[in-house]
Amino acid sequence: MRGIQLSLNQTQRLRLQTALELLETLSSKASLNASVTVADNIPVNYEDGVLKYKPEIGDIIVGRVIEVAPKRWRLEINFIQDAVLMLSSMTLPDGIQRRRTAVDELNMRSIFEEIDVVCAEVRGFQHDGSLHLQARSQKYGKLERGQLLTIPPYLVKRRKQHFHHLEQYGVDLIIGCNGFIWVGEHVEAKDDMVVDDQVNKSEQHSSKSRNWTSLEEQEQTHTPAETRQNICRIANAIRVLSTLGFNVTLDVIMETVYLSSSLNLEIHEMLGAEFCVLVAESEAERRSSSAKRKG
């Protein structure tokens, strides 16, 4: 049963098994005139390269800066090698398109520092197989005010859209093809450059002198409570789907979130055994009803 280690009681275990079996038969019925006979089960070690992230040009990924090197940043992206984001592939804070000077190179840390979370696009492959990234558009860049989740990369399918601005929740959801998912407070795209610069500078000042800012001042800049609740609900939905091994797409995430709010569940209860079984059952039902409508 995939070794899902939750404390399921007997009934929950049965329900989960039925739901997962139903999903398996549905996925094999999708190929209309074929019949599938399972002859043997080969246990796959999830650490192997078989299920690793397979990058393609144009993929949207989320990564974490691990090194600031001359004229480039090195990012960790849940891949066997680290990716490289060149300074020339990154929009400058003032938005002007110009040649990068030595001063720009010295100021790289004012754009991204070590451990920052960054969103970018795959531009190409380097000769040694590592990835080249670019972050030229307004929608790419540093991600703050939220949380980063890690799921197995094969659960993310390539779609037309990976950036989702969920207006009714005020939440930004970025589903990186490498298995890193960002859920955070909605931040307006950097239209007003100047204002943003000032905000960035004041944030940097406050982060450097964090010892001196009082707790009250920090509390004023915290994410509002309702947005935070939405962020946590969506993050937990993604966690449950990842535990169950379901593909993580916007529709499924939203379904799970509706399910949890319709049941009036506390947010932390979404990580419990009962909700896990309910999600599996509702997904099985959803797919079987859509299969019936087609066939």
Partner: protein, 287 residues
């Protein structure tokens, strides 16, 4: 542990201040606890406990030995914790020594009681076979398999479960046999006795982040802590052990407040653990 960007740290601190942590828990909620007993068949008692991504295993092994002359009617108990290299790259080689020693000492203080054996988690006289001559030595070992914060609580729970799972073999010593050399102890009877673990305390760790305390911190939340107080409390709501970690100083009134919060939380944790351990034991007997 890779580290968190300033924005993520701010988000975590904000969550704790607003009583809504990253996974939706309130400040005093535990993660779902998963208990499995009998995971090491060669040991006399064993248990695995998972709290979120933190996974620990505890085992109890019994060896025949001579009791301490100062306590002839009791067996000896020793406890040691080690961290597996699979828990993280910082645990490779000798990297885990400091953490292992810290955890071992804290658990020994909570569970083993003083030199005279008073205040121990369970009565070591249940390990005695022949007064003054023969007893069981209990070796309790803890292993951290995966570390995502709150190791002390998880180890305390695992040791409690492992002790509940322990079956002490009944040793028949032929009457009149001389016990000064190696005696002929008959262990062929399949009978076993159990250890009374009703007095074993649970450990509740309160981590202080900013102005608030949280229970069951993940390693991300622990990286933001200023200090942490671990209180070990038994069923009668009495404190069996107390440890403070972290460089920041605490006002005495805050420590007293943390102790009372821990005492309040311990009741729920104790009930939850007892029911999970009972369920795990029942499961084990079925299989």
């Amino acid at each position: 542990m890779v580290g968190l960007s300033a924005g993520e740290k701010h988000f975590i601190q904000g969550g704790i201040a607003q009583d809504l942590r990253a996974d939706g828990r309130k400040r005093l909620n535990y993660r779902p606890i998963y208990v499995e007993t009998g995971v090491i068949p060669q040991a006399d008692g064993s248990a695995k406990v998972k709290m979120g991504a933190t996974e620990v295993i505890a085992s109890v092994k019994l060896d025949l030995a001579r009791p301490n002359p100062s306590q002839p009617g009791k067996g000896k108990v020793s406890l040691f914790v080690s961290c597996s290299a699979t828990a993280g790259p910082m645990f490779e080689g000798r990297g885990s020594e400091e953490l292992s020693t810290e955890l071992s000492v804290a658990l020994q203080r909570c569970l083993l009681g003083g030199k005279s054996g008073a205040g121990a988690a369970f009565d070591p006289s249940c390990l005695s076979i022949v007064d003054g001559k023969l007893c069981w030595d209990a070796y309790i070992d803890g292993l951290v398999v995966s570390a995502d914060g709150n190791l002390l609580d998880a180890l305390g729970a695992a040791i409690k479960a492992a002790l509940t799972n322990t079956r002490v073999p009944v040793a028949n010593v032929p009457a009149g046999a001389s016990l000064d050399e190696d005696p002929d102890v008959d262990l062929s009877s399949q009978e076993t006795t159990r250890i009374d673990t009703s007095g074993v305390p649970v450990i509740v760790t309160l981590t202080k982040v900013g102005r608030h305390y949280i229970v069951d911190a993940t390693s991300e939340e622990e990286s933001q802590m200023s200090s942490a107080v671990s209180v070990s409390i038994n069923k009668e709501r009495r404190i069996c052990g107390l440890t403070k970690r972290g460089g920041a100083g605490l006002d005495p009134s805050i420590i007293l407040d943390m102790i009372s919060v821990a005492s309040h939380v311990s009741e729920q944790l104790m009930n939850k653990l007892d029911s999970e351990i009972a369920a795990a034991e029942a499961d084990e007997q079925d299989t």
